[in-house]
């Protein structure tokens, strides 16, 4: 990849030549796919062989080597920043750890290169793991500051702990490795080795987003709170992202050290981290190709613009600003958008989708949820003020009350977004008062939000698949099982024909349905719905009412917040009324909706007349 932009040779041509295959597209998607893969392999091989085909000066080979090793570290940034949305300004630290492991390991300790490489990856990954743990409490600009400090400490250690690191002088005389008796002392051979590593890293980073973990990463980027509530252990996934990212940084650094034979602390300082950041943003943070494209450009550009040397960092800064303003998805994002215009979504055969299995056996007569004297205070405000209630299995239990009476707060305490100030919550006989939201999702508590919380830059089906992959979901783990479950859930809410669309392009009401489908895909036994009818018209509300009744028929318990009294009356078995965080009435709809206190605080006069 790196070499293409440098040489400007007619390498892209094969890609164009595959296009005449397009007319066969509608009939043979597999053949087209195979054609594309073959084309990609041909291009990749040609690029890797450029140094052997054309005569390149050692100087140019060095630049290519730099680009290839940097690009591996930048692919780490793709994982942590592009996929997971976590800022990392310490990638040069992990790059440096890999480099020093190889430098010191081979030169000082006399270890074999491959052993030192593995050590470097291990050390970098461990450091990334530790840094990832800090995201438990910190995010956004605080995380940025932590990573900067991490980077600075690393640099200070490199410079000052000269007994071990050889200080500012750095490590020199790092040898090239050999494999099966083959020595990579020739620059071209070593570059080929780097390219192979780069291709492997690219394949891994390209493959990752479609996996369970990759989807979880992107969900965290799009909406961390929703991801946690849907059942993703967000801390674990963020730590995985940091660990993978730093391991890639370590690989890049290890290859760099051996390639250039000499390393010193200033190869791995803060400005290098900023450079990695710029590369990934410039190229496009959300794709493996973007990271490599950005790296190539930013390594080759300065060579063309040598006269800029002194204001190098200023140019980087300017590039970041301009890209953020004009190309928020980077160069690859722009290319991607162009390509997507020609992509026709494969139509979904709705009749072939299996019916959604939602059955929850209702045999136990005990309440599924019981709250005892539940309290949630914000400073002096008692948003939930000593609520005791029981929700029976297989019923629709509705919470109503004036705006600001504590309904949504109560839901947030129920699924763990807020910690209760006092009291306790028992779910299915287990005390869950102190568990995390994703653990509650794992027990079968599903949730939708008042102000829709979907993953806007993911497709409809991906959103719902995230719901299907909660822990303990009886539907199975495989990609195919998740996909089928998601399609069934979409069919259940009548949205299967929108499966491949991007969520952010859907109208409000459809987004609501997708959110319900996401919750149902997790096969919940208990479903918290916060104003599901908001933004639906009368017809759609009636459909929703029927849907809720169907859910109840399957044995699900629904805990509902809703303002549409028609709907509430139609579906509720029990209604609880809140006012100022306290329960003011509870019982069957016919009783509660005619309760004078409820009419005065909530329903008002007209509704009174209608009811």
């Amino acid at each position: 990849m790196t070499n293409v932009s440098a040489s400007n040779k007619p390498v892209p041509a094969p890609e164009r030549s595959t296009n005449p295959l397009d007319p066969t597209r509608p009939r043979a998607p597999n053949r087209r796919r195979a054609g594309r893969i073959i084309a990609l392999i041909v291009i990749a091989t040609l690029i890797a062989l450029i140094p052997f085909i054309f005569k390149l000066s050692p100087y140019v080979l060095n630049i290519f080597m730099q680009a290839a090793t940097y690009a591996i570290a930048v692919l780490g940034m793709t994982v942590v920043l592009g996929y997971t949305g976590q800022i990392n300004l310490a990638q040069a630290t992990f790059f440096g750890l890999g480099a020093y492991a190889v430098g010191l390991g081979t030169v000082v300790l006399g270890l074999n290169f491959w052993l030192a490489l593995v050590m470097g990856i291990g050390v970098a990954a461990l450091a990334g793991f530790v840094l990832g743990l800090t995201t438990l409490r910190l995010g956004g600009h605080y995380l940025a500051m932590i990573t900067i400090s991490f980077q600075q400490i690393f640099n200070l250690v490199l410079v000052n702990w000269s007994g071990v690191t050889q200080g500012p002088d750095g490590v020199s005389g790092i040898a090239r490795p050999s494999l099966f008796g083959l020595r990579f002392s020739d620059d071209r051979a070593y570059l080929l080795l780097c390219t192979v590593f780069l291709y492997a890293a690219m394949y891994f980073v390209w493959w990752l987003p479609q996996t369970r973990t990759g989807r979880a990463m992107r969900a965290i980027r799009e909406n961390e709170l929703a991801a946690e509530v849907t059942g993703i252990d967000t801390l674990r996934v963020k730590v995985i992202a940091f660990t993978l990212s730093s391991a890639l940084g370590g690989i890049g650094g290890a290859l760099f050290a051996s390639g250039f034979a000499y390393i010193s602390p200033d190869n791995f300082d803060f400005s290098r981290s900023v450079e990695f950041l710029t590369m990934v943003l410039l190229g496009g943070a959300q794709s493996a190709f973007g990271g490599v494209l950005g790296t190539s450009l930013l390594i080759v550009l300065p060579e063309w613009l040598r006269f800029l040397k002194e204001i190098y960092l200023a140019v980087y800064g300017l590039a970041v600003i301009l890209i953020m303003v004009f190309l928020p998805t980077g160069i690859w994002g722009l290319i991607r958008a162009r390509l997507d215009r020609y992509k026709k979504p494969t139509p979904v055969d709705i009749s072939a989708i299996a019916t959604l299995d939602l059955d929850i056996p209702v045999t136990d007569p005990s309440p599924i949820l019981s709250l005892e004297n539940l309290e949630k205070h914000f400073g002096g405000v008692k948003a939930v003020d000593g609520i005791t209630l029981e929700v029976m299995r297989g019923t629709v239990h509705t919470l109503i009350g004036p705006n600001g009476s504590g309904k949504t707060t109560m839901l947030n305490v129920l699924n763990g977004i807020y910690k209760a100030t006092g009291g306790n919550i028992k779910f299915d006989g287990v005390d869950i008062t102190h568990t995390k939201p994703h653990e509650r999702a794992g027990l079968g508590i599903g949730r939708t939000f008042q102000n829709i919380r979907l993953f806007p830059l993911m497709s409809v089906i991906e959103n719902v698949m995230v719901g299907a992959q909660r822990a303990n979901n009886p539907v199975g783990d495989g990609q195919l099982a998740l996909r089928e479950r998601a399609l069934s859930a979409l069919k259940f809410v009548d949205m299967a024909d929108h499966a491949e669309r991007m969520v952010k392009n859907l109208p409000y009401g459809h987004q609501r349905l997708v959110e319900i489908a996401r919750a149902l895909a997790g096969h919940p036994s208990f479903l918290l719905l916060d104003e599901p009818a908001a933004g639906l018209n009368q017809t759609e509300k009636q459909k929703l009412g029927e849907l809720l009744k169907r859910l109840k028929g399957h044995g699900l318990t629904v805990f509902l917040i809703e303002h549409d009294i028609g709907l509430v009356e139609q579906v509720s078995d029990t209604i609880t009324v809140l006012n100022f965080g306290k329960k003011i009435a509870e019982g069957e709809p016919a009783y509660v909706l005619r309760h004078p206190d409820v009419m005065a605080a909530y329903l008002g006069e007209t509704a009174h007349a209608n009811a």
Binding site: P402, Y508, H563, E569
Partner: protein, 245 residues
């Protein structure tokens, strides 16, 4: 000359066509409502009018002047306010500051007049008076919705676009809100209202349009629309049930 006129407006999100040629008009002093299923293009129509999305073709006239190539800020200054769906309030400002910011487009106001107008909003939404010094983010969803509507009203526009103002409000507040919409009109503001609560919307509107997949399907008075069996069945919640509710 109508206050607002749309002629064959088309609009796209990427390569998805959201409006396929919408023509409608709103006369001075009218309350007009747009009805239709989700995805019919109601919110998109409002966003095209207020300049948040430039239409891909067609013309929009406000007070006789074409506005389809004018920026949203300038359109606001011409006297057209848009209260979008989804509670866009300023989380770091107090409730009162949020309300006062609504007057920005009207230039500088006398302190006393400002206070009087804020007081008027508190009259409509008594909850907001109690929360006057609370920060925007600390409000519940329904309270934020009230605040967004109050801020829109403060710009005293010639034409007010309301996108689902009743979303997430308790029934008692919804009744007050619709009474307010009626009184806004009697103070000389024309209203274009998007609502899912069709029965409620038609109870205050002079005329309504029903949109379907980016086209205007029917236009008429509330009585005509309510009497149209097809419209009732498809968009207003079929038959007698809805009335009973």
């Amino acid at each position: 000359m109508p206050m607002l006129e749309l002629r064959n407006v088309q609009s796209h999100y990427g390569n998805v066509q959201a409006l396929k040629g919408v023509s409608l008009h709103v006369e001075r002093g009218e309350i007009v409502t747009l009805l239709g299923a989700n995805g019919a293009g109601k919110s998109t129509t409002l966003r095209n009018i207020s300049g948040l999305i430039p239409p891909s073709s067609g013309d929009i006239f406000f007070d006789g002047k074409p506005i389809n190539r004018i920026s949203p800020e300038k359109i606001v200054r011409m006297g057209l306010a848009h209260v979008p769906e989804g509670r866009r309030i300023f989380p770091g400002l107090t409730v009162k500051e949020n309300i006062m910011i609504g007057t920005t487009a009207r230039g500088r106001l006398q302190r006393r007049q400002m206070e009087a107008e804020v007081e008027e909003m508190y009259g409509i939404f008594p909850d907001l008076r109690r929360l006057s010094d609370a920060l925007g983010w600390s409000l519940s969803g329904g309270q934020q919705q009230m605040l967004a509507v109050a801020r829109g009203l403060m710009s005293k526009p010639k034409l007010l676009l309301l996108d689902e103002p009743s979303l997430g409000l308790a029934p008692i507040i919804v009744q007050q809100l619709f009474a307010t919409i009626r009184s806004i009109r009697s103070h000389g503001t024309t209203v274009l209202l998007v609502e899912q609560n069709a029965n409620m919307a038609l109870s205050v509107a002079d005329r309504g349009y029903v949109l379907a997949t980016g086209n205007v399907l029917v236009e008429g008075t509330p009585a005509q629309l309510l009497g149209n069996e097809e419209v009732r069945a498809a968009y207003l919640g079929g038959g007698k049930r809805a009335l009973a509710d």
